[in-house]
Symmetry: C2
Amino acid sequence: MIDLSNEFAIGIDIGGTNTKYGIVNHRGEILEKGEIRTDAYPEVETYVDALYDTLTPLIKQHVNGGIVKGIGVGAPNGNFYTGTIEYAPNLLWKGIIPLTKLVTAKFGLPAALTNDANAAAVGEMNYGAARGMRDFIMITLGTGVGSGIVSNGQLVLGHDGFAGELGHTIIRPGGRKHWSTKLDGSLEAYCSATGIVITAKEMLNESKEDSLLRQFNGKLDSRIVYEQAMKGDKIAQEVYRFTGQILGEALANFIMFSSPEAIILFGGVIKAGDLIMNPTREHMEKNLLPIFQDKVKLIFSELKEADAAILGASALVWEIRE
Amino acid sequence: MIDLSNEFAIGIDIGGTNTKYGIVNHRGEILEKGEIRTDAYPEVETYVDALYDTLTPLIKQHVNGGIVKGIGVGAPNGNFYTGTIEYAPNLLWKGIIPLTKLVTAKFGLPAALTNDANAAAVGEMNYGAARGMRDFIMITLGTGVGSGIVSNGQLVLGHDGFAGELGHTIIRPGGRKHWSTKLDGSLEAYCSATGIVITAKEMLNESKEDSLLRQFNGKLDSRIVYEQAMKGDKIAQEVYRFTGQILGEALANFIMFSSPEAIILFGGVIKAGDLIMNPTREHMEKNLLPIFQDKVKLIFSELKEADAAILGASALVWEIRE
């Protein structure tokens, strides 16, 4: 048996404002974590230098005698195949950024890169709810809807590395136009936090029923919809029922594509619990062929939300084949 | 370099009435082919005996000095993982049939089994339009709509072997009820030959326009719709435009799932050529995120329709890892 206890991975999650990093062991325990500003470095080279200067003393301190196997990075528009960040709209570095090449050159360590949702899926597979699974789909339901798909034990990346954009699949042809992509009726237009607020506003407009939501008027956000639904507000609960229906229909389609053992859900939207999960499960099962019914586990992420991005990024390291 | 010229594979395609077989080389050339009745054998054991008695002299005749690497079988509800045919509604053998085990015991050769659409995908990858591709989706548009998905050079089979039922994904929520599955608005309900006839009848009912289709009344079939569309009949052409729109929307969703290099289409429905492909392409591109646009090849199968099932089944043999 190989002793894995002295092997470590660095996980780096690049966001538009901040970059989170962590030193992680094989069990998904974070030995050290912290942040640096992403937007303080208009040049990616000086950003990588800053990461190096921050991480080197921490690595020395925590990994004494152990081996750092590599650096995993989650970033918007991160391409696993090429190791490049490509035209990320919310980063200062424009065009195609050869991130893994720069990281490897600076740290002298192998590096792997993918987008946040794919990293989350690899994190679940290594440390979370998908341990031991070879076929599952991870759906992140937050401000947007992201996804990472694992088939036959491997990330589904597609011929160009961009597979797994399930949030943009069309669930209601001719339906609600997405505020940014302009696609009609995509999953994200309904099942993201933003979509939930739009649904709530639509329902308030179309109904004359009393609702606690009405007092918030222009300042409605998904947290308020959630809180009022938990307090028993009928319209707020109907918002979640409808959101769950759309999500369930979408999941049925995804299941008939890749027949996963489980679908793992992550993000703020699922905090509503049964309010959203009951209709999700109902409409998922209803739209499946019998051979898929009552088979697919619908489960929540087991990674702590604050750490999930770092863990996901670090887990990429265990997938590097040299 | 390994000399493949004296390696051969047996391809067997099991249908409810007939079983087709062929002896195939690495280039996808069929040296010998033929048929036996499937429904003449109520017991699967005697069926396998009959296959053996038929094939053995042919193998001896054609493969002198060469090696038969194995036997690939395409069958309804064929499960690649288990090698079993499971509850196939149109076969006489009920329950779970351990087909590859029986075949291997009788022939003394490795055997592999999957469903027809998966076999077709493997056939395209080995001998057809998907040669050299690692990520593509095969869609068969005939009486039904089948699919085989290849990701990262491997069939997407899912945790239970039943992945790739794209014909049953819901493209029009609350739409046309499928005559057999009872699902509402599935791809097959619209884009199969059966779906096309239903669309034609609906359009004839809803329109008062003159149409050559009206003379066929109760006896309308998809061939007639095709022929009249080619002759310029407006309603028949509108049937194909609508069918292409639904297909294009479905393909956009599939692309955002697995980001294939190409989608390969096969079957009677695509004989209508541009009549269906132009709207398919238009609505596919329209429903894609920009990163997927103008990238995915939409191409026709390169396997002769009469031989495709045998070739697909035989190609499974080259995928067997011992």
